[in-house]
Symmetry: C2
Subunit: 239 residues, 2 copies
DNA sequence: CGTATGGTTGACAATCCTCAATCCGGGTGG
DNA sequence: CCACCCGGATTGAGGATTGTCAACCATACG
């Protein structure tokens, strides 16, 4: 068993990862729990208040549109993550979108603040969410800034494998939440270039693609060797 | 007065920016206040505990070294910022360094947690620090991932101008905390390329460089026009 | 079974990196 | 006060990587 492989004990199917039910219940008590569909844009305000989205199921991402058909996907939110819109401004082209249909709990910012006072464990958890987010974005900044195209693709597969992969007889199966264009914008790559790098990994037997949304990482260790940030990613993307 | 210019009321010299004295005093009460010199590496542990550094004066940065002489500078910490080393692992090549000599307060992680319980305002501030940090790194990820070389250089000058600039008869004077190589690694650029882009901005009369560590942004508005992320940077780098 | 959407691939262009030569500025010693 | 030297900064030529555009292919869906 390689040290960096996804949790072997994970037997749930991808997309229905466990997230602390006590937290979810506490948040649902002061917020609204509802289903979201892929492609849906989540409002960053409720009236005049900022809101938080707790991901129960599915996946969200934060994008930023730039002039000239450039888009950056800055962060991905997985089940158990809290996405805060306190600093999101759609006036600056930033939007929170649903990558994979699922369930979220929406909580108004002031409600969460109150909850943090009445529930000390929530306060602790809130800080942890923010820290995890900061550290993940840092790792992501290194990926898009200093890695080559092929290393970036490896980094994405490692991230997704760690967050959503299942171990099946030495290979890792992953359901990919992103479309090609979304992966490309997440990795700051052109979709054409992304396709090339993926093809290379395919032809070298590291991964196999089943349809458009399912990948089998045949050689996990080889994938790790192809990404200089593998160790950091493991520390940061952990479920 | 351009809408995006650095605060006109700032009369302090760069490097001695104001940071909330009450916060600083509260932190100094449970931590250690000391001077740091440029180039110094700050330990990320104190015994077995993680620590936080509150920047009173000067500037810090977080770097990550990669195989093959690649280095990424992931974040810069200005006066008033709190740098948490909870997730920094020098085992993965990450280090916290001093860009500009100054003063910091070091607080052990458990001490800060206690302070957050006894002082509700500190808890609120802690969350805000983490959020600001995440949002800045997000903006930075867009800069290094999706902007062209020249746009990145403009982004850096805007960031530094907003955080440390002084308005003097329509121009903005800035003391740059980073060396050339550090700026290059912060922008995910090669030092040679950085030099080229700076020369272009110089020859076009947007900036003037005085010595190696001092810049005069002659045409602030033009600089903003050259960076598609100017509006976001203003929202995020604000003192 | 046809159409539509999205993914792949090839040729070429643009951008940025690498390496090496040159330049400049600041300190040192004559 | 000036010549010299050293380290960092600049600049040029050439190469590597990635982006662009267009044609082709596959998969999904009615």
């Amino acid at each position: 068993m390689p040290a960096l492989s996804p949790d072997e004990s994970a037997t749930t199917t991808a997309g229905s990862l466990a997230c602390d039910p006590k937290l979810e219940a506490a948040l649902a008590g002061v917020g609204t729990r509802f289903k979201v569909r892929r492609g849906q844009k989540l409002p960053e305000r409720q009236g005049d208040d900022a809101v938080h989205y707790f991901v129960c199921d599915g996946a969200l991402y934060l994008q930023s549109e730039l002039p000239g058909r450039r888009r950056a996907i800055v962060a991905t939110y997985y089940p158990g993550d809290l996405c805060s819109t306190l600093m999101v401004g759609s006036g600056r082209g930033e939007d929170l979108l649903v990558a994979e249909s699922g369930t979220v709990v929406r909580v108004r910012a002031d409600m969460l603040s109150e909850l943090c006072i009445s529930l000390p464990m929530m306060s602790h958890e809130y800080v942890r969410w923010m820290q995890v987010r900061a550290v993940r974005v840092e790792a992501h900044a290194i990926v898009v800034g200093r890695l080559t195209g092929e290393e970036r693709v490896a980094a994405y597969l490692i991230e997704t494998g760690l967050m959503r992969g299942e171990n099946r007889d030495k290979a890792v199966h992953v359901e990919l939440p992103f479309s090609r264009d979304e992966v490309a914008d997440y990795l700051a790559l052109n979709p054409d270039s992304l396709s090339r790098f993926l093809s290379r990994l395919k032809s070298e037997g590291v991964v196999t693609l089943l349809g458009h949304r399912r990948a089998i990482i045949a050689d996990w260790d080889e994938l790790l060797r192809r990404c200089p940030l593998a160790e950091t990613l493991r520390a940061v993307f952990q479920r």
